[in-house]
């Protein structure tokens, strides 16, 4: 557990969550204050292990031509066993309810969260 963010969004190799040190609620998106209790103190820790896919879309119309070349690609919202929801790429053959391993994988030349579905 660390007090500063050092994950993939900052060029690191981890995916991190931030836990409010006052009320214990966890946040995935970077926020400056906890909406549950107002605290501005967070501890950062790595998200590892498995998650279950809760929402999946397969994108056929990309926002621009560079990404259009990569279509179809799939994006999912996944939930960790302790209830944290995060967003990342996944396989186009994945379905809601699938279990996946949380990791990072390049998309469009940059590492991003990827949920590798177990066969």
């Amino acid at each position: 557990m660390t007090e500063t963010r050092s994950d993939w969004t900052m060029g690191g190799t981890q995916i991190q969550r931030r836990r409010c040190t006052r009320c214990g609620v966890e946040h995935y998106l970077f926020v400056a204050a906890c909406a549950e209790c107002g605290s501005t103190n967070f501890a950062f820790e790595e998200i590892r292990g498995d998650a279950a896919l809760r929402a999946v879309t397969v994108i056929h119309r990309a926002p621009h031509s560079e990404l259009q070349a990569l279509t179809p690609y799939a994006v999912a919202i996944a939930e960790t066993p302790d209830g944290l929801r995060l967003i990342g790429h996944t396989s186009v053959s994945s379905s809601i309810g699938d279990r996946a391993a949380i990791g990072l994988k390049n998309f469009g030349g940059r590492p991003m969260p990827y949920f590798a579905v177990y066969p």
Binding site: T9, H27, Y28, L29, F30, R54, A55, V56, T57, V58, I59, H60, R61, A62, P63, H64, S65, L67, L70, P72, Y73, V75, A76, I77, R85, L86, I87, G88, H89, I96, G97, F107, G108, R110, M112
Partner: protein
């Protein structure tokens, strides 16, 4: 009793209007609204306007006021995504009810279709997602809503065929509304055969990108022809980003509605006409079911039974909604309000539904992020 009245409203045709700009579309709608309100522009003492993606400006309301020959004492621009139109009405209502202005012009317009390339429009709108965590994944607004739809449909056993009911219904309604962007009839099979955008959403599950404008005058005094007042309003803003949604069955729509009911001392069962935001078929399904106009998983069945038709128990978006009247941004959301106002005023012509006295208008902005509910009432 402090209240505010809808004095008049104006709506331009939506679709492709190559020769128009943000300001000219706002002005067209303003002129229609002033004419409808039967007031001179000189009595407008407040201007509240919505953003335009084709004309980002530090002070659009002031730019527009100057353009339209208005010197208001209150002048605001607002940005609440798709909920901007209703947020502006709610704010105008609060200001007029408090006695701080007498005639507020609420206005929006945008040449979203012809004022920029399609890719530019899609990329600008995609910024409603988180730049680092969401938009960077190659997501678009349809993709954000597709994620919502996939989870919601799965939880409530809703099929793509079910949701397609609303694309067909909105198109049928638009056929009776002059000025609609899309008015050729479509079938469920057409929707299911249309090209994949972000599954489960296909092209005909998505609203078009349009040019257009809308304006509403919120006043201290009513229009002589029809007395329509704001009965109550409520809002909820629980998150901004899709990934921050904790519960797909509690995105804020019901909270906003409950606040509007408490404000207006009214219940949803009093609703005789519904104007619900419909950026995608999935948007409409989720909103109808969370606010309780249909039970969970049953909105499509209600649509099939005619519940939301012109002569149904709760006529819905009789102008054709964003899905078919069209979507030019803030004015797209205001078109729902204008239609509710016309229906309550008994001035909707061939698409008039039987004597509504209470209308519910609900909009969401972002990705189910901002919710505003407003009840309008016809006073006899």
């Amino acid at each position: 009793m402090s209240t505010s009245w809808i004095r008049g409203a104006g709506l331009t045709p939506f679709g492709s209007q190559q020769a128009e700009s943000t300001l000219s579309l706002m002005h067209q709608a303003t002129q229609l609204a002033l004419q409808d309100a039967d007031i001179d522009v000189t009595v407008i003492d407040g201007v509240i306007c919505g953003y335009s993606t084709t004309m980002p400006h530090l002070m659009l309301a002031n730019v527009f006021a100057e353009y339209a020959g208005i010197r208001p004492q209150i002048c605001h621009g607002m940005q609440v995504g798709g909920a901007t139109g209703l947020s502006m009405i709610a704010l105008a209502h609060a200001i007029v009810s408090a006695g701080r202005a007498e005639n507020i012009l609420v206005v929006a317009g945008e040449n979203r279709l012809t004022g920029q390339t399609r890719d530019m429009s899609i990329q600008t709108l995609a910024q409603v997602g988180h730049d680092t965590y969401e938009a960077a994944l190659g997501l678009t607004v349809p993709a954000y809503y597709a994620l919502l739809a996939s989870e919601y449909y799965h939880a409530h056993k809703i099929t793509e065929r079910d949701a397609a009911e609303f694309a067909v219904l909105m198109r049928a309604h638009a056929a009776r509304r002059d000025g609609a962007h899309l008015n050729s009839p479509i079938s469920i099979d057409d929707v299911l055969a249309s090209k994949a955008i972000a599954l489960p959403l296909r092209l005909l599950d998505c609203c078009p990108i349009s040019d257009g404008g809308a304006a509403v005058v919120v006043s201290k005094s009513s229009n002589k022809a029809a007395q329509i007042r704001v009965r109550g309003s409520g809002q909820a803003h629980q998150h901004q980003h899709l990934t921050a949604i904790k519960d797909i069955d509690n995105v804020g729509a019901l909270t906003a509605l409950n606040r509007a009911c408490a404000d207006g001392k009214i219940t949803i069962a009093d609703t005789k006409y519904a104007a619900i935001y419909d950026s995608f078929t999935a948007t409409l399904v989720i909103l109808l079911e969370e606010i309780g106009l249909a039970p969970r998983g049953k909105a499509a069945a209600f649509a099939r039974e005619g519940f939301f038709g012109q002569t149904g128990k709760c006529p819905l978006n009789l102008h054709g909604g964003l899905l078919s009247y069209g979507h030019c941004g803030v004015a797209g959301g205001m078109a729902h309000f204008v239609e509710a106002y016309l229906q309550l005023s008994n001035r909707a012509g061939a698409r008039q539904c039987p004597e509504p006295d209470i209308a519910l208008i609900h909009a969401d902005g972002g990705v189910m992020s901002a919710h505003v509910s407003v009840f309008l009432e016809r006073v006899h």
